[in-house]
């Protein structure tokens, strides 16, 4: 998880991409029960789940594409659109809100120049909001590419963002 930030995500443009999707399905399992795990692994590998990937999963598992799409769009961690290189998930639940989350959110949107759901023009960051990340004792908290950063303020925020190029 530590080097997730530095790891270059696999690209769907790669000629071998569909084979990789197939490998993931075989390794994870083909039954309906395994679908969420398959989609999660594909999303981890490529950053999101493309339409082509959904078609390939459907071919391998005999689950209809509409079923797969309906499951993928239900869960927050199974994105179906492409994000920036780094995904910031900002916790907007009450425990973070009352210990400085309000101010941090203002600073974050100002520093990035984007609103939740948007990606910076250089494709570096996508900003998402999320419910509790479960590390409330060090709030306010945000996670970047699954790395949790706590006890944040408007002052130490640039330092954290600078780690992600």
């Amino acid at each position: 998880m530590e080097n997730a930030a530095s790891q270059q995500k696999n690209n769907y443009d790669h000629p071998d991409a569909i084979n990789r999707v197939r490998d993931i399905v075989f390794k994870t399992g083909c039954s309906k029960e395994d679908l969420i795990a398959v989609l999660k692994n594909v999303a981890d590998c490529f950053g999101y789940i493309s339409t082509n990937a959904i078609h390939e999963i459907s071919r391998q598992t005999s689950i209809s594409t509409s079923d797969i799409f309906s499951v993928a769009t239900f869960y927050r961690m199974l994105p179906t659109t492409q994000y920036g290189r780094h995904v910031i998930e900002f916790c907007e639940s009450l425990p973070c809100h009352v210990v400085g989350g309000r101010e941090l959110f203002r600073a974050l949107t100002e520093q990035l120049g984007i609103q939740p759901g948007e990606t910076t023009l250089d494709g570096r960051f996508t900003l998402l909001t999320t419910s509790c990340l479960g590390v409330c004792e060090v709030g306010p908290v945000l996670s970047i590419d699954d790395n949790i950063h706590g006890n944040l303020t408007a002052e130490n925020l640039p330092e954290v963002l600078a780690k992600y190029k």
Binding site: S31, E33, F74, Y75, L94, C132, S143
Partner: protein
């Protein structure tokens, strides 16, 4: 099982420190070592209480005797009299009746201790969570061999007798649930551990899983044996990478050790555990949604009955218990139901793990007997408020509610809280001071419900959307009194018509707000001001 005999509180705020309270704390630790009492006495500091005249203050439980002012040179006498010889050191006692009144909340509780009493968390942070041998050398794994010698019904009777209630938020009697699964017809049954802990402010299950994953396996084995199940699932939320890794490794180690799999320890009992990781959906903590998610579907709840105890995973009888609930099982088996009943209150025995958060000096995790009060939590474990005065506490997500300051002396257990119209919830205690605006906080909560509503049933989908809209209007200065009436109607509609617990309880913050903080809300509407100065009023 380690149990403290006495508890010592020392006031250590600014005023006490100026009178040498730190030297007193140091001296108490030295004296306890001298009399060999260090392992029996729990020492902690609290913020300044009472008037400066009696500070530094020392309070000793379970007798609840207040001493003060105490200086470092008095400590040896105090410890030897009260803690070693067991008699009250009258000469040092606070005698002024006015002074006693000012610290009444600390000295009223005689006979019991608001001390930490670790049952579920006992070995969390003590054992190496990656080593099954370390778990076994710390008394781990001793409950299952006891169980396997008993008949399954006897195990359920022990759980029933202990009075254990579900720790996920609803407080349902655990023994009754186990019995329902055992009595349900069918050969194939499942045990599911609900580790999809997503209530905002709650992270107790994460700490239990990360700190002692083996106890979860043992508890599931016991549940499987008692209910007649041979397969279990742990549904763990997607964000908990570390806990997922720990539990996966623990299951692997248990299988290699031969305590998980076919014919465990040659007893003829087989049990296997699968781990299922969530993918980011709060609603999957609801039991029927969780089961749908394990089956690989959208995590949408269905209407109950039939309950999962008869129609659960793939239509089979299924037992679903929270992590903390299961964590109580091995200690109950090991120490007996009478021991368990000796902790906590009559209607809610045992301990509760709380996460204490917000505007207090110390945030974190604690495990205390059921029935201690919010005032004690803030004073003793939160080390006092950070600056402002206590305004309200929020007890976590959809299963909790907003506790106003006037209820801070209500004992925290399922029934006492229900009687005054609030809920204990999953164990988050978000302490908010007077710099927070109730309208702003409820708006944030409603946004949470709106985002996390699965959208399957209409009252919840539309209700959360509309209440958020109204709360936003009020917080931005556009609210009207008609909207307040509408808010109350929407809340009742959601409560009565929604399909699952999320919608049914989404209106609770609104109910609490209108009941206890109506004046503050009306100030936003009628006067166009936010008394706490938080909301951006446009006028």
């Amino acid at each position: 099982m380690k149990k403290y005999r006495s508890m010592v509180l020392i006031s250590n705020g600014d005023s006490s420190q100026s009178k040498g309270s730190e030297a007193v704390i140091e001296a108490i630790h030295q004296a306890l070592n001298k009399y060999d009492l260090a392992s029996e006495v729990y020492v902690t500091n609290i913020p300044d209480s009472g008037s400066p005249k009696a500070q530094p203050l020392v309070i000793i439980y379970p007798e609840a005797v207040a001493y003060g002012p105490i200086h470092a040179e008095d400590v040896d006498f105090l410890v030897s009299e009260h803690l070693y010889k067991g008699r009250v050191a009258e000469s040092l006692r606070v005698n002024d009746p006015f002074e006693i009144k000012r610290i009444a909340w600390l000295v009223q509780r005689t006979g019991t201790m608001p001390a930490e009493n670790r049952v579920v968390l006992e070995y969390v942070g003590v054992i190496d969570p990656t080593s099954i041998n370390d778990f076994l050398t710390h008394d781990g794994g001793q409950a299952f061999p006891i169980v396997i010698e008993m008949k399954p019904q006897e195990v359920i009777d022990i759980i029933k007798k202990s009075g254990l209630r579900g720790r996920g938020g609803a407080g349902f009697p655990v023994g009754v649930k186990w019995q329902a699964v055992r009595d349900a017809p069918g050969d194939k049954k499942y045990i599911v551990c609900n580790a999809d802990e997503s209530e905002p402010g709650t992270f107790k299950d994460r700490v239990i899983l990360e700190g002692n994953p083996f106890s979860m396996i043992e508890a599931m084995l016991i549940a499987g044996y008692a209910c007649g199940a041979d397969e279990g699932y742990i549904y763990i939320r997607g964000e908990y990478h570390d806990a997922l890794e720990k539990i996966t490794n623990a299951i692997k180690a248990a299988k290699e050790f031969g305590v998980l799999g076919q014919n465990i320890l040659k007893t003829g009992f087989s049990f296997d555990i699968h781990v299922h990781s969530g993918a980011g959906a709060y609603i999957c903590g609801e039991e029927t949604a969780l089961l749908a998610s394990i089956e690989g579907k959208r995590g949408e709840p269905r209407s109950k009955p039939p309950y999962p105890t008869t129609n659960g995973l793939w239509g089979k009888p299924t037992l679903i218990n929270n992590v903390e609930t299961l964590g109580n099982i091995p200690p109950i088996i090991h120490n007996g139901p009478e021991w368990f009943r000796s902790i906590g209150t009559t209607s809610s025995p045992g301990t509760k793990v709380y996460t204490i958060l917000g505007n207090v000096n110390r945030t974190g995790l604690m495990e205390v007997p059921m029935g201690i009060t919010l005032r004690e939590v803030i004073g003793i474990y939160g080390k006092g408020m950070k600056g402002g005065a206590f305004k309200f506490a929020q007890t976590g997500g959809s299963s909790g509610s907003i506790i106003p300051a006037i209820l801070q002396d209500t004992p925290m257990d399922f029934d006492s809280y229900r009687n005054v119209g609030v809920a204990l919830g999953s164990g988050a205690l978000l302490i908010c001071d007077d710099s927070n605006c109730i309208v702003d906080c409820v708006r944030v909560l409603m946004k949470f419900f709106k985002v996390e509503s699965c959208g399957k049933c209409v009252p919840c989908r539309i209700g959360t959307e509309q209440t958020l809209q109204i709360m936003t209007d009020i917080s931005e200065g556009r609210g009207t009194m008609e909207q307040l009436e509408q808010l109350d109607l929407l809340r009742k509609g959601m409560e009565q018509l929604s399909n699952c617990g999320l919608g049914q309880t989404a209106g609770t913050p609104i109910k609490n707000m209108l009941e206890h903080f109506r004046a503050e809300v009306e100030a936003h509407i009628k006067l166009g001001v936010c008394p706490a100065g938080v909301c951006a009023m446009e006028g």
